[in-house]
Symmetry: C2
């Protein structure tokens, strides 16, 4: 049997930690073969939970830590004073090579800052970026979008690097050979939008061997599946991600109101329930849980803070998949010989 | 009887022009009292349509034009060569004072460029902005969001001016005394996001007599109704607007799939139909049609290009409402004595 893939778990991070985390690890361990977990956190809580949830003893090891990074801790303070926390120790195990990837549902800002400082960026990467999956009209083929908030401002080089990293990420996660990449803009014409985006487009056109660049995409393409990867600066990406969330919530609430508005509607709803549950599942944010901090010397996956066990298990699944396929090394190779001079427009 | 409100109509602009336009004007004339329409475009088409749709002869006058701005015309070319078009002539009537507002469903870029050049900006306004209504959880109280794409990049002063213009616009359109204004950002903490946004926040805090500033809002607040007005640069605003569209479309399509997936679901759907139509109506983009180009010396309202008659009539309604309340003069007054020095943070 091959060496198991070792994954670090920040067992104390997240609104429902450590219980949802340990149960999520148990669910992931059932779906993933040959994975070993390092659980960082309070042993007095974790040990009984692991036994109660039925996590096999051969599948984990607990590293006791006393400290936890709080949800409202400032990233700068977390990095300075949090070196004994479960979060830092879990990341540090990736740095030493003891594990291949780290998963946390804790404080996002702190986790990004710590991951960046502890793991460092891949040679050739100017800025790491946060990437996540979004539902589309095509089942089994979500979008990947980045950056989702790590960099409020980006230049053309950053956007090009995001395109390459997103492309490698998509290839490994969804086994798609040549995923298409779109740059998020406010129109599809070449003259539209911000200068850095137009420049990035020209650079990408000169690197077709690395990226299957498909042109500009717009906000309505985020859920359309027009391209596999959508690249944006972290500000617009974060706004778009949260807008999807807000619009889904609005429609869900209006739908609930509609159902409760009449007796016939209630009966209709009961009859349609199995079909509606399928719809709900397609949009279930838990299935898209696991945002990846791309561009670091190590795999760092952020679960949603409020994730339950099922959601957490998907984030662990992303970490395992990427670790198995050696994401970081593949990004490093793809970034070699990148031509950063914009192709002149003819 | 008071003088009628005169509205210019670019009868040739839009995918369904002139028929949907004339029918839309007819619908608007039924809802709005004492309005007179100047219809710009091909008289041979407009005159029979106006009669066929039953628009009263006392309610309109046709100004014949031969030329039409095409949907794919570049704004710069439209401005240079389009002075005999229905679009330009309709805008020009606002400039001469013959009409109080102009409505067009034609080429957005051309309409914005022409409006800006023909009408000019209000003294004290650095950049005009495109504003539109978005549905929220509160019926009868939509959001107004701006800028939606007129300015891909904005500085702090622009964002402050947008806040004031959006606030006046909301007050007049929804009769709300002191509408709350939020700045779109990627987090609610003061240290988050881009510098120009943080600076705009400090300026707004020093102008509480003009704007009811309520702090940072995020993407999920666009449909939540947390604040009445949401201010953003035109890039993120455009992305967010189109993301709402894309997410709504995804859910609608998945819902249709769900309904067709089983016989029971189909029956359920029929029973729930009246309730679902109510939901559909709440999200109906036609009810939110009519984007306003704020900051000009004249009221310039853009209807969606694909609007049908009902949608068009809502855009006309917005124009009439704002003309009745003398929007431009009120914006000018509010921008006087604005304090543009950021308040120091204590």
């Amino acid at each position: 049997m091959a060496e198991p893939i070792v994954i670090s778990i920040d067992a104390m991070g997240g609104d429902n930690a450590p219980e949802a985390v340990i149960e999520g690890v148990k669910l992931a361990s059932e779906k993933q073969e040959n994975v070993f977990f390092l659980l960082f956190g309070d042993e007095r809580q974790i040990a009984p939970l692991a036994r109660a949830k039925g996590l096999p003893e051969s599948a984990y090891k607990i590293y006791h830590t006393d400290e936890v990074i709080k949800a409202d801790e400032k990233p700068s303070a977390a990095v300075r004073y949090g070196r004994n926390s479960s979060m830092w120790k879990a990341i540090y195990a990736v740095r030493t090579g003891e594990s291949k990837a780290v998963v946390s549902a804790g404080n996002t800002g702190a986790f990004m800052a710590m991951s960046k400082i502890c793991l460092g960026t891949i040679a050739g990467v100017d800025r790491p970026a946060l990437a996540a999956m979004m539902p589309t009209l095509n089942p089994g083929r979500p979008n990947v979008m980045l950056d989702l908030g790590a960099n409020a401002e980006c230049n053309a080089t950053n956007l090009v690097e995001f395109s390459i990293m997103g492309s490698v990420f998509y290839r490994l996660l969804y086994k798609v050979k040549n995923p298409s990449v779109g740059l998020l803009n406010i129109g599809s014409e070449e003259t539209k939008g911000r200068e850095e985006i137009r420049e990035a487009a020209l650079i990408l056109k000169g690197n077709k061997n690395k990226v299957n660049y498909a042109g500009f995409v717009e906000g309505f393409d985020i859920n359309s599946g027009k391209t596999d990867v959508i690249v944006s600066d972290g500000f617009s990406g974060n706004v778009a991600l949260k807008t999807v969330e807000g619009t889904s919530r609005l429609i869900k609430n209006l739908f609930k109101e509609a159902v409760h508005s009449s007796f016939l509607a209630k009966i209709g709803f009961v009859l349609a329930l199995p079909a509606l549950l399928k719809l709900k599942k397609r949009m279930d944010p838990r299935l898209y849980n696991g945002a990846m901090f791309l561009g670091l010397n190590g795999i760092s996956v952020k679960s949603h803070g409020g994730a339950d066990a099922l959601g957490y298990s998907y984030a662990v699944g992303v970490a395992v998949d990427l670790a198995r396929h050696d994401l970081c090394e593949k990004i490093r190779v793809e970034l070699e010989d990148l031509i950063l001079t914009p192709e002149s427009v003819s």
